[in-house]
Subunit: 516 residues, 2 copies
């Protein structure tokens, strides 16, 4: 810290030059002289320490290095590879997945309504665009929407949920958001409070998607990590929840439990029985449930099926159905749409105290509204073409193609990994990632330590430098002590993915040999 405090901020030479040729009208009139350098008001030492504690591995140092390598390649620096493959993030379109035509037609019609006159656009897309524009202020996607989202879209989400679950859903319980991340942070903000041993504790899986750890660090809450059972395909274990909760109660006030299903980074799809057990546990222990269900359309394994927490909760009946407080999250970034860049998503709240719900409405109003273009794409996702409508066949074909390609790639990934001695990969039942376990030889651990790196970071950095493949070390998600993993998306096109997996396996084998 002292070193940071002493370091002088880097002044932009351009700015200094501009200043030197400036009018200089006031340069002598300051009360203080322009003596020696002085520390900035805001420095590493004086800034908000909660922000310093935030870590987000998915876009962390390994990605920074990947971007540098890309630039070096463009500048002609010789490398042992010709392309950097960013398998670090679930970004389908960046990996070549084509947008679903219908979604973009609806969005383009709303963005540029003159296109409503174009015969080339199908009538069902036009009908949806007309309805959405009528729900926009001044019939423009450029007007603010209501803060919880456009009412017509909240209605469509409610109907989508009713079809999905066979359980009533109410538009007033649905809050659209700037992606699921935004919605998750809003709910955590409501929950998190307290100081010292009264601080709010939140149970989060290990491994987890690091949005949770980042948000909890920023909010000053206590993250209580419960281990998923790697030996049982990353299943959730209520005994482990109980252990972590008991331990947590000694140092904070545990108030909430986060579950990610299908799992990120694990690819696990939870059984109905496990979900029931989690709900009962939340009821008994008085925990608010956060169900991150953004991968609900990404289920590949035979015999696996997505069960929403809300459906299971309703079917459990009283006292659970009318008591357990639940927030369930969904997104347009995943599923078959993969429209990450539009930043659309929502939360449905169930059994939320009406006063808290009012506070949630107020909280989201400060940021005015979620991006309307993202809301529009969300509407097209939850209200897709129906049989008989002109876009139906094409839409279904595109959707099936995306999902079946993902299913094939999930299988391919686990197969190639499991063929490699030293790598063990659980079945990728759902979501978009593999999270294989890698054995690392003791000399690799020593080499990593010598560089002040986590062993899996050391491995992933070497992998990146030698092959151009960018994956995220398991330490960025959390893992059982002494085990090492990495997260890799299954999104690259199948032919590319196959080459990538083979390269990765070969590199691993070479790496192990080098450090044995």
């Amino acid at each position: 810290m002292r070193a940071l405090r002493a370091r002088r901020p880097h002044r932009l030479p351009a700015m200094a030059a501009a200043a030197a040729t400036s009018l200089g009208s006031g340069s002598g009139s300051g009360v203080l002289g322009s003596g020696g350098p002085r520390p900035p008001v805001l420095s590493g030492a004086t800034m908000n320490p909660a922000v310093r504690r935030v870590e987000y591995a998915v876009r962390g140092p390994i990605v920074t290095r990947a971007l540098q390598l890309e630039q070096e390649l463009r500048q002609g620096v010789p490398k042992p590879f010709t392309e950097v493959i960013k398998a670090n993030i679930g970004d389908a379109h960046a990996m070549g997945q084509k947008p679903i035509t219908f979604l973009r037609q609806v969005a383009a019609l709303c963005v540029f309504p003159e296109l409503l006159q174009e015969a080339a656009f199908p009538e069902d897309a036009k009908a949806r665009a007309r309805r959405l524009l009528a729900a926009c202020g001044g019939h423009s996607a450029g007007a603010y929407s209501a803060s919880p989202g456009i009412e017509a879209i909240r209605q469509d989400v409610a109907q989508f949920l009713e079809r999905r679950d066979g359980v009533p859903a109410c538009p007033q319980n649905i809050f659209l958001a700037t992606g699921a991340s935004d919605a998750i942070v809003s709910i955590l903000k409501l929950l998190v409070c307290g100081e010292g041993s009264g601080r709010c504790g939140v149970l989060v899986p290990v491994p987890q998607y690091p949005l949770y750890s980042a948000a909890l660090a920023e909010l000053g809450a206590v993250q209580l990590g419960y281990l998923l059972a790697e030996e049982r395909a990353w299943a959730l274990d209520v005994a482990e929840l109980r252990r972590v909760l008991g331990e947590g109660r000694r140092r904070c006030q545990p108030r909430a439990l986060c579950v990610i299903n299908p799992g990120n980074p694990t690819g696990q799809v939870q059984s109905r029985e496990d979900i029931e057990a989690v709900i009962k546990f939340a009821y008994e222990e008085r925990l608010f449930l956060l169900a991150d269900e953004v991968y609900q359309d990404n289920v590949y394994a035979e015999g696996a099926a997505f069960h929403s927490f809300k459906k299971v909760l309703a079917q459990l009946g009283p006292p659970y159905a009318d008591t357990v407080e639940l927030a369930s999250f969904h997104s347009i970034s995943k599923g078959f749409a993969g429209e990450c860049g539009f930043r659309g998503g929502y939360v449905e709240v169930v059994n939320m105290d009406p006063e808290v719900q009012q506070q949630l409405a107020k909280l989201v109003s400060v940021r005015l509204c979620p991006p309307v273009a993202g809301q529009i794409i969300l509407d097209a996702v939850v209200n897709p073409p129906q049989p008989g409508e002109p876009s139906y066949e094409g839409f279904m074909a595109e959707k099936r193609a995306v999902l079946s390609a993902l299913a094939q790639k999930a299988k391919l990934t686990q197969e190639i990994f499991n063929r490699t001695p030293g790598i063990r990969c659980n079945p990728v039942q759902g979501a978009m990632y593999a999270f294989p376990r890698i054995e690392l030889p003791p000399r690799a651990l020593q080499a990593a330590q010598a560089q002040g790196q986590a062993p899996d970071m050391f491995f992933c950095m070497r992998l990146l430098e030698e092959t151009g493949i960018c994956v995220v070390p398991g330490s960025g998600f959390g893992q059982k002590e002494g085990t090492f993993h990495f997260r890799m998306t299954i999104l690259p096109p199948a032919d590319k993915l196959q080459v990538l997996l083979q390269k990765l396996s070969a590199f691993y084998t070479k790496f192990v040999k080098e450090f044995s």
Copy 2:
């Protein structure tokens, strides 16, 4: 609080009904019986008190009531008006302003690139769309962008700033965001820390745009309000800054100073001299400067001109130019574009400590990226058609029409208000609002008190109920004690605005008579 604690949460009857007809597989297996009602985990009494403290008047109770009234009108409930006019928020398109064609053409081309084949779209829009798509992952607006925004757009913003200020700008200092609000909150998050008398204090104007008070409440910082001088057209007064800072130092650690120019809600445009004085004050007192410059294109008054803090800072020369830390904010929601729904904006940081800047980059990465469609509109705003390009004439004509209509409406608004005895309105030099002062008779104050309302809230609610005009009470922005104001946008179409102003003035006169 006790009343809230006792109140039973409202259970969705639909949900309960679903539960009653549920499979009931687990309804008997809970450890706890389904005895009497129990309080929710998350209630008004147990939720994060910082969120409870947040207030955001622009979308507060008066707007909730306006929405109810709209619904009642639709249901045929008789009212003394036929339409609710929401003059509470700077939402240009909702008030009938048409989108600028070029911006939407570029956006539509990026959303649906098949349109690049359409002869109907001009070549300059296509050229920009092609360049932006090439800068998107997988050439899709549906891919995540880099967290601080698409590099090509950061470059265009930097060039825009260089043209504006005649001072070098660096893309690495520009962070695109989900609207200016998002960027402002990110900067405040870096600054805010400390407990008790070590809490961070932030100087904020009174009246202010309530995003600041809301964000500071949520972050647990101390808001130090400095009064703008209403008698000098809401000018900023450095002596007042000094007074508030001195007072603030006794109870917190003041670290930052927010300035809104052109002013929201005041409509004031700061003079170059005042900006110089503020910069010197920030230098002397070691304050980080936040310059909210989202209305920089909205300057109407003769003799008034927008001077950016960055330009004035550079021109002041050392020691200011190379020392004072500044964050300047801009947005696509205001200016001539008015594209609020797309949620686009940015912050440029100047003289920021490089380590802090790295922390800022990390912080924004947790939320992945700003909406790409908003980034695209931003690019079209900062990189508009140039002379000789096919869209140039049309674009300039549309832009001029928007800005000159606003200038006329600014004039009309202050004129009609100032004709009404008891209302005094400073010149609307810029931005999109009038913030007139209203004298309220003592009996009106008593009537308000009897209803537990601020006097100006009482006035605005009565105005809404009787005329359908929705404006925001001055108490939502802050005002000198004993004075009363409201904020009204000047955005309605001129003919409608004239009627609205006359109705409002007539209502005020009647109101004063009623309570005299």
